[in-house]
Point group: C3
Chain length 180, copies 3
């Protein structure tokens, strides 16, 4: 939990204090409090209770995470309103996701099947980007705000647009365009 607070404090250019993160970061509440409990209930096969709890988490945070979604270390969901993370999503370590992002399915596939994306480590996904289907987003990739992504994105590349195309390499420093 302290790791995540430090991660948020270093990644958010607003440089929030410790207390600001604790009190006013819905992404922090979702990742530290609501999702772990929902995931635990799901593993105990209390499916309806797990989803009810996730639903309550959504009510307080605006962030909807399916109890079965797998989330790595230090996920920072910034702002968070409208985020939807689907059932078979897998998120690596140290990722940053902005408000309105969907890790979603494409409305088909069977219940047991992998229907949602897999994110590597250090991935950044801009506001309201829709990442759909059982695709892979490589380590260090960056997705521009408002992008519609339905194909794999390679490591350390930047994708943006509707539909999304690779528009460059993710280097350190400012983002090419559309990133939040």
């Amino acid at each position: 939990m302290l790791d995540l607070i430090n991660a948020i404090r270093s990644r958010d250019p607003a440089k929030p204090t410790f207390c600001e993160v604790i009190f006013a970061y819905p992404g922090f509440h979702a990742v530290v409090f609501f999702h772990p409990v929902a995931a635990g209930l799901w593993k105990m096969e209390l499916f309806a209770l797990a989803r009810l709890w996730a639903h309550i988490g959504r009510l307080f945070t605006g962030i909807e995470i399916h109890p079965q979604a797998q989330i790595g270390k230090n996920l920072f969901i910034d702002h968070g309103m409208g985020v939807v993370i689907g059932q078979t999503s897998v998120i690596g370590d140290d990722c940053t996701i902005y408000h309105g992002v969907t890790l979603g399915g494409k409305g088909n596939g069977a219940a047991g099947e992998k229907r949602h994306p897999t994110l590597g480590n250090n991935v950044v996904i801009g506001a309201y980007a829709q990442v759909l289907g059982p695709i892979s987003i490589g380590n260090g990739a960056r997705i521009g705000a408002g992008s519609i992504v339905t194909n794999d994105v390679e490591e350390n590349s930047v994708a943006a647009g509707n539909p999304a195309k690779v528009i460059g390499a993710a280097a350190s420093g400012p983002a090419p365009y559309g990133l939040l």
Copy 2:
């Protein structure tokens, strides 16, 4: 109400149980509980009360439906956060709408005038698609996630992009791209 629960259970690839739908589906709460009461108050010409009730529904579900909007049978609003359904919208039967979808106006028109879209039956609208103006979306049409639609879309066609273009025919089976 049982019809809608069954419709959700068959249309959602996550295959929720009966209890999961009852407890954890905000789109279910909006369509079965909040909107019918708001619509009833509106018909009784208790306009402010109707809108207050719709506002309370939005607080609990993240879904904003104007009390005067006309909604057909078995509308499934999945996830739901950020959905806005405008005053003169008409929605046919068996439609599926994802989170962030707007059935909106274009900021002009008189109060009595038709300003919002009309959806046929079996329409699917992907996440965060914006469908704007007094346009028609034909039966069985599918709109990709993040599309900006301001023209009519014909029956059984698929539209996507910003601005949206028809990109194919809606057959059974997997969606072309960008659909959630």
Copy 3:
């Protein structure tokens, strides 16, 4: 406050009554009640309390406004769910912003630096448009729904698309496309 109610009643084609605005307009609650208190606490250097209050405002309205953001007269945030207004944003008078709009940064820049947009007067920003970086949107400009804007937009012009391009001049009367 009466000015804003009148502004909303004249700008919203749904022509709400006085009571409807008071009871059911989250954008009204955010601008008249939540943000001024948060801004006052921030000026008193009660930073964590200011952000907690802004966070509570977000819970009730779906609108997230950083306490330090500068907002002009008669801002009408319509629908409002998912709006994020960043720390160094400046908004002129008589602007209209729809739900899902971000006045955001690009994930870089130092805490003291200007990282967010400046809007002139009479600007209209359509639903889910993302306006990112320390850019200027000129007086009377209109931004289409779902646009991704990372460059300056000149006075009285209309920008739309992902990435956004200028597509015409903002005259009175109907919007070109994609405006909500």
